[in-house]
Symmetry: D4
Subunit: 253 residues, 8 copies
């Protein structure tokens, strides 16, 4: 129920065509219908900001295809499948084809692919995605693919870890022009602190599970980023490239 | 806005006394008013089930008194202040007196008192609160005080730890007649497993921060209770005697 | 030895048919025979409350079949095999057939099946099982299968996570009519807090290992549920759908 | 050395007034002078975005006063002292007075005060600071004081925890109009997930050390917020109200 | 009820002096009476093996005195109060005097004293208590005081940490003659591994909370001792000198 | 160099047949030769107490065979291979056959077998190995196999978990006659506390990695056993059946 | 840009051949060019101290080959591939051959090989690598292979764990002559403490993930080494044989 | 017994003045006497490398004075008291005066002072101690005081945290000339990674407990430093400035 159908109902009552009892019964459901309102608003907002996304792991290819098809039918914005296997990619591609939706953009290797149908139209905002090492690339790839689905055209700076500081400093101009920066790093995650000290732009840090032993599957980078001595850095979950892209969509509307 | 005022509004519209536009404006707020409905319902349920409670730590005596006075004025059910200092007890007692509410029941020592105003009328349900050792008594005292505020008259079995199993087994009849059992234990928390194996009644386990070193401030007991080999035991947070009493109120309505 | 066989023995002694020495020898075992009493009572209670259950992992198909057959022979209530592989399912089905017991109900996929022989007769009590996301379904399936074995007919509400609050609020009526609610959620487990704030019914929270990185294999959801700001929520172990069902059986006798 | 003084030096050389050797010596330091450039730029950016701030704990009142005086002299933007004791507040106030700087705004109680000298001029951007409970207020106070120093006029919504969802839903309009939202919550931190699901605005979550036992001094809320099922939420460190304010400054420039 | 009173009851029935119904009623309680048997046996064993002990922390001096007096009256073996404050020591000493029990032996400083009434008579068994550093002495003192209460005359080797291996090796003869060895060490707890490699005697390792930072309040030593490369070392809880002494009593009966 | 060769050397010097310089050079090595003494003594002790053992994991079958053959040649006591794969079992059996040593006793399934060559002659001491559940059997099997290699004939009580206390209480006599008890339990490890409360014998607790979720791969049982409320229980590492057997050998010499 | 080209530029300006604007533009880049200076210096230092190294895991054989080839072309010092699979070894060997670089030295088994091209010329410095057990050998092999690539000829002492102290003490002379010692140990890592107490040389401790259960995948050894009672021991990450070798290169230049 | 007294003994035997039996008895003790040798050697090494040090916490002033006096009497090298209270400083100063030893150098505030008697003569080696923030100064002060006691004259660079990278880069020359660098940082500890990437010198990282919340009392910095992406960095325990100084003494002999 949206604002106009609410008015319609009230007018029915005013016109004596709807008995008060019936209206009460309908309106009693209103909190939820009203939150149905909210749902519609929410959806509109989501379409502007965040794509509909399906998380692949633990779903059968058939399950993935069904959900993707439903989203492709019910909305007309971008639809994503993240962390998809090759079989899942095949299934959703076929399912989409049956709906007349062309083949998706598939990023990443077959066992960790991000699949994008109907990417959003181009959108303002200079987003830079910086990674510390080549091992962080899968997370960065997920992040840039989702950013692309959202309409951004991110600049990707790879292998800028602080062990060779000059690699990062050579890109100071790129950092300086960014409206928002995603820093993706594993091991000790120091790159976030350093980038945060070089720019006043929003910095979203993504700890990765890169590294072994004391890197504790990303927990070390996570804690380090949360404790960064540069003020105002914010952090998303370990390996959560998707979440970082969504955070960008929130802050560059 | 409750069901009858909703009907009143609709009838105003039906009678032509309220223009549809006004009604829409009011009803547009309905989700929240309706959740105001829900609030009223919720409050009613809460009055039947859980007391209004104020958590003392971190509040000044004045702050405590103000919140308690508000609750005493706005509702007519039981009002609690938990983990209160002596100064807080004094402040709320004085504040209540100013409202004409008599002195509360105060359980526990002055620096960890549970304060109960207007306890609920007596209520069916045999609740047994079992503690492993004397060090668990402060948590048990909080639990029984809150149970009392809710109208229960719990039986308290103290010092029944499994190191001397006969102490517990001597109380098998008491356990057998219980409608619900709260097991309060620190250290390794084994009492929950043993009680759970002796009775089909609901068992709510409260880990306490009793013990030192490897007891890890209650984390060991918590993990042990969550891993209990007796099926169907449920657990609340460390030292959370208040929460266990509320859980009892949920399951013995 | 139950109450009547105890009386029989005493009467044998009274009648001079059993020499005191023999009775002493038998009765000396009484504590344990008496706990044999307890065992019988316990079993009766268990039959009313909790099914005999075998945990599949780490057992060979033959081992599973042997234990299941013993339980099927020794009792006449429900018998469960949880987290069973396809081979285990086959083995216990064949073993049961040899005893003249018909094929079990098998829920879940082949590698995480819950197998139920001789479900209990239907039983009162409106149980609602709410899940936050589709990834929590395997745990929910285990829970509802065990509830079914116990005689309950649970209502399952899926995909009600708090990220889209309207999905949950649309089911307020279902929640309001529940005698007990199982909330199954991974990631941050916030659904338990929200449900706990909407209903006075007992809420049993099951953290799941859904999520990655900072979800810490369910530890995050576990801690969050134990720290829920809604009072009186109780928690079982991570992914422990079976335990939640048993807890329901304890509180809805 | 800034761009114009660099040009001046070069022109001196071109004019023969500065011997090449001298210029080389000066320019040899240029990487650092140049980073001195960057420092100046950085400072300007910081003045626009983040205030100069001194962290009180572990510093003597004299030490605090000295650093604050230096910052007041060297810059003309806002200067902050966070988590200050009463003695520290006194010392910096006196020190500032000696420099002719008027008394600072002091927020919070004496043992956890945020002290602001020369707040920035008013600045666009609707920032909403939502707290779950009254125990989270000290962190919220630090956050709003720092936001105020930065020129923001934040709206503060207190006590909106998800245990009573209607309290939050009653403020949907306020949330909907926000350019950015800071969610401050302890215990299980579920408020961040719920707010994140209700608005497309950037949500910065601050876990607090509120709660006891299983709340693990804020670690539970931290992990829960990082695992939030609502996409695109970002997180700062435990109790870091200052950091959240700085993050707002980064994203609402 | 012990074996002879059980026989007496049975004979009463056989003689027709006790109606079967009465006997059933009495015997029905037998499991617990029988475990009352066990209690008596247990107590006797405990008197031979482990002293009655009261844990001081969290108890008022009056509470301590009451429990100690009860134990002094009910038994005639040793009675201990561990981790006692000066006020607690005074209270129990006065209480005991009122019962005609002379002043206890008090070991350790006033705020961590072990108090022993009526130590057991001397007992065979060469026990060696080795400590790594002087900071481990309080735990060692508790251990040797409890050993003394149990009748042992332990040899104490202090400051034998592995950083100066010769200090330990100089005591090889003492170690070789030991019937059991308690190794008390904090920091990395390596002393347990080294002692375990030098002797076939039972080695009970006590991790202490000595050390800072990465010693994690004793957790590091605990984990290290549990992972010791020398086979057959067993471990008690952190700082648990009392527990180690009790373990000695179990294995040197 | 042993005592007699030391004497021989000294006599050589006394007889003038060995120049002092040579003796000094030889004796300078004495600390290590002397610790060679210790090595011999140590070995003798080890033969009496602990078998030579090879830990299978991470070694190739050839490597295992080589080490086992060396031990079979160099000593004449028992030799063990623990946690052996089928291929390792085959390799060491063949290698031993080549040395004329007959086939070993192999316990456990092929992928977690304990292999014993030349078990020690029978040895006094009643050892009871109690397990909580069938899932703990692999650890128990390792423990009893090693005990057997050491000459013990342990009694094994299986499936005595505290969820069905009667199962344990039915074995009170067996426990009472034990000289030492090994308690093997996963999940919450409560069995150790209960057994420790029923007997004054030494109790060695082995936490197992049985259980899932909050059982934390055995850490929960480990912490619980270390925090057991029954005094004097000692603990070995998670799943360390071998270590428990060695600890028995230390205390029942 | 190095010092002489900087002078050249300045002289161009002084001579009027370079307009000030152009110089400003070039010099504005100087911080990064200057850090390009640093890069060159850094590289030279690295060539003297640490080899160019590629971390194998997560890279395809083709990726490995490409990076190795680039390094072989761009530098003329040693190039390493660590933790390489057999396929990776093949690919880089072939790739190098195509560049005319001979086959590398390959250490360790096929699935954890260290591959060294063009090892550095021999270098002074007696390095001893001590391991506690045979299970630590893979880490030791990586360490010695990298040391070899750096020009060191390390002495390897294997199986010197403290459970048999004489094995280590027999090597006191070797330890005494070392310029630096790497201690590699898992389980409780006590070897580092003991070695640190026996020698004044620098001791670099490498915790390994050897052991199970309470060894916590190397965390126990890590914490123990950081808490070592012998002063001045330093530690690298778990299983980080490569890092230890690099640390040696830093301190024995 | 040292080398010459060993020779004397042997010559006594050779001369027939010492019966072989007596010599055997004396030499049988040799391993320990010989390790007494080692002790002497060790002590000499220690005197060259590491000072005798007493750790203040947990010791009474009298205890401190006694140990310090013993060390001052028994040796003639430097003697340290670390983490001393004002009372401890007074006591040891008085005690030393009684021995004719002049007043010590006292660094740091009264409640965390490092006290140095008889510092070692000046010693080669350029040591740089870099700290990230002013809060790290107490650890740095301890480190430099111990370095001073050892004869080093360290250069201290304070407040060089990576949030303002230019502060560190301005000191590149100082870093370049260092023979060894100690990096002291809390929070996320990123400074170690950055310094490690700028210099080939040995870098010893000291994590500090600076920071709050997610800094986890130094654990975050510790883990980050162990996971540093710059190769060859080594780490000591949290806040262990003393240990870092000793590590320097090991590597700059």
């Amino acid at each position: 129920m949206d604002a106009s159908s609410l008015r319609a109902l009230i007018e029915e009552v005013a016109a004596g065509r709807c008995p008060p009892d019936d209206a009460v019964r309908q309106l009693r459901r209103l909190p939820y219908s009203d939150l149905g309102f909210a749902r519609v608003d929410h959806h509109r907002d989501l379409r502007l900001g965040m794509p509909e996304a399906v998380y692949g792991p633990g779903k059968t290819p058939e399950h993935c295809a069904a959900v993707v098809e439903e989203l492709l039918s019910a909305t007309d914005g971008p639809v994503l499948l993240t962390r998809a296997t090759e079989a899942q990619v095949k299934a959703v591609t076929a399912g989409a084809a049956a709906l007349g939706v062309g083949p998706p953009a598939v990023s990443g290797s077959g066992d960790l692919a991000t699949v994008v149908f109907r990417p959003a139209p181009s959108r303002a905002g200079a987003v830079v995605v910086v990674t510390a090492g080549t091992a962080d690339l899968p997370v960065a790839t997920e992040c840039t693919a989702v950013l692309g689905a959202l309409g951004f055209v991110p600049t990707q700076l790879t292998d800028c870890g602080v062990a060779g500081l000059h690699r990062l400093l050579a890109e100071l101009d790129t950092l300086a022009m960014a409206d928002a920066i995603v820093v993706i790093a594993g091991m000790e995650g120091a790159l976030a602190s350093v980038v945060g000290g070089l720019t006043p732009a929003p910095v979203i840090a993504v700890p990765t599970s890169t590294g072994y032993g004391a890197a504790l599957e990303g927990v070390t980078a996570l804690l380090a980023m949360l404790s960064a001595c540069s003020s105002g850095i914010t952090v998303v979950g370990i390996d959560n490239g998707y979440g970082a892209a969504c955070a960008i969509a929130r802050l560059l509307p």
